[in-house]
């Protein structure tokens, strides 16, 4: 049975709170300003992001990504403040992604955060990237106590909340599902604009054949690197042709592979999510992370949830894909519970488990 409704430890705001959130753990730099008014629901005042898009066939490397963030950070923060109509003096705390993510890009963002913190004498709040996704998903969708499927280029986890901790029920044993999709997109030279995952989704809609790929759920977990090797092997198959040929020929097109890959990995994700739901008796699924914006995944999850008389919650690309507002939201919640990151402890870390965070703002 899901936990009984406990009173939230988060005390009434008492006054308006404003938080600036800065995110840059992968190839997107985002800044957002969140307001928790003294009465009323949290409001997004602004949420601006810029993505570092590499040429087709190329992934993003830490150094170039860090350079991108350094180039865009100040402009985006400025635009963010202007759009919200707020000055740095009015901000209560500066929230930044402490981890997990890529080292150099994370560090680039935190340098800006520290400088602003010292200039304007505002406290810093280090935020776990995954918790940011979860808190924004909860805020936007209003889901009460869902099983969370967090799927992105860097992370693939099934999470459920219990006793002030986001517990990881299942996860990938090797690479993230977004990483698997992105790397396949590079193999078939799809454009990275707006994102490789989006383009795979569009190509998959044109696929006609479901090819056999290894289905690798391991209990509550999944393994994806073998599937990537298998789908790559198809591109070396003599039946693989980029151009569409006659209908009756035994051909494999990139569209068929996109379709087969999506169907296989998404089915696996739906299975491990269902296992977690069965385990804790939850009827809600919340999908967060960049891959969560994939409509086929949402549809497949919806079918499973409906069969269990449950429902799926998902957000749109503004909040699914890495953004600054989710960092502001998670940061402000912990700030209101008295959490701050002292300057000397404001380092970043590439590995930061979701369950390491003490979720003080929930009962």
């Amino acid at each position: 049975m899901p936990g009984k409704i406990r009173k939230t430890p988060l005390i009434e705001a008492g006054r308006d709170y404003l938080a600036l959130g800065l995110e840059g753990s992968a190839n997107k730099f985002g800044a957002g300003i969140m307001k928790h008014p003294k009465d009323g629901a949290a409001t997004v005042l602004s949420n601006i992001r810029h993505t570092y898009i590499t040429p087709p066939g190329e992934g993003f490397q830490p150094r170039d990504t860090a350079l991108h963030h350094r180039e865009w950070a100040l402009k985006i923060i400025n635009d963010c403040l202007a759009k919200a109509g707020v000055s740095m003096h009015e901000i209560d705390c500066i929230c930044f992604t402490k981890g997990p993510g890529m080292g150099a890009p994370l560090q680039s963002v935190v340098l800006v955060a520290r400088t602003l913190s010292l200039l304007f004498n505002k406290p810093l709040v280090g935020v776990n990237h995954c918790v940011g996704h979860i808190e924004m998903g909860r805020e936007i969708t209003g889901a009460q106590n869902p099983v969370v499927l967090y799927v992105s280029g860097g992370n693939t986890q099934v999470i459920a909340y219990s006793r002030q901790c986001y517990r990881i029920f299942g996860e990938t044993l090797d690479i993230a599902v977004g990483n698997c999709l992105d790397r396949f997109a590079r193999i078939i030279n799809l454009s990275n604009d707006p994102s490789p995952g989006y383009n795979i989704e569009q190509e998959a809609k044109k696929g006609k054949r479901l090819l056999s790929l290894p289905y690798a759920t391991k209990g509550m977990d999944v393994s994806l690197s073998g599937i990537l090797s298998a789908v790559e092997a198809y591109t070396l198959d003599k039946r693989f042709h980029v151009q569409e040929g006659a209908e009756d020929k035994d051909l494999i097109t990139p569209q068929d592979l996109c379709f087969s890959l999506q169907e296989t990995v998404f089915a696996m994700l739906v299975e491990i999510t269902e296992r977690a739901m069965a385990h804790i008796g939850s009827k809600e699924v919340l999908i967060v992370g960049g891959v969560g914006s994939n409509e086929r995944l949402q549809q497949m999850m919806g079918i499973m949830a409906q069969e269990r008389q449950g429902q799926v919650f998902a957000t749109d690309e503004r909040f699914c894909i890495d953004n600054g507002i989710m960092i502001a939201q998670a940061g402000l919640l912990s700030y209101r519970m008295g959490y701050e990151t002292p300057l000397a402890k404001s380092t970043c870390t590439q590995r930061f488990r979701t369950d390491e965070v003490h979720v003080t703002w929930r009962a």
Binding site: R70, L74, S87, L111, T115, L119, L343, T347
Partner: protein, 92 residues
């Protein structure tokens, strides 16, 4: 042992001592990635930020100096963008 090490000292003037201290406090938080091969001392004298590096190899001397200057550049640009506004808080 340290006599055979390479040393690089960088001195960067800032608009004020306050800004130089902000740069020092911002940059010194992150430890060097190779503490056994790189020794770093960051100080401030009036409005000048001074970073003294001692490294085991020439290659490391180039890398740490370059990384430090890139970090200083980011801090400087941030101070440039927001410095004036910070000096002028709105009257409550």
């Amino acid at each position: 042992m340290s006599e055979n090490w390479h040393s690089v000292t960088l001195k960067i003037p800032f608009a004020s001592e306050k800004h130089a201290l902000i740069a020092k406090r911002t940059i010194e938080v992150d430890p060097e990635l190779q503490p056994h091969a790189v020794k770093r001392i960051i100080t401030v004298e009036e409005n000048i930020l001074i970073a003294a590096f001692s490294t085991l190899t020439i290659r490391l001397a180039r890398l740490v100096a370059n990384a430090f200057l890139e970090n200083v550049d980011l801090v400087v640009r941030t101070l440039e963008q927001f410095g004036e506004e910070a000096e002028n808080p709105p009257s409550s």
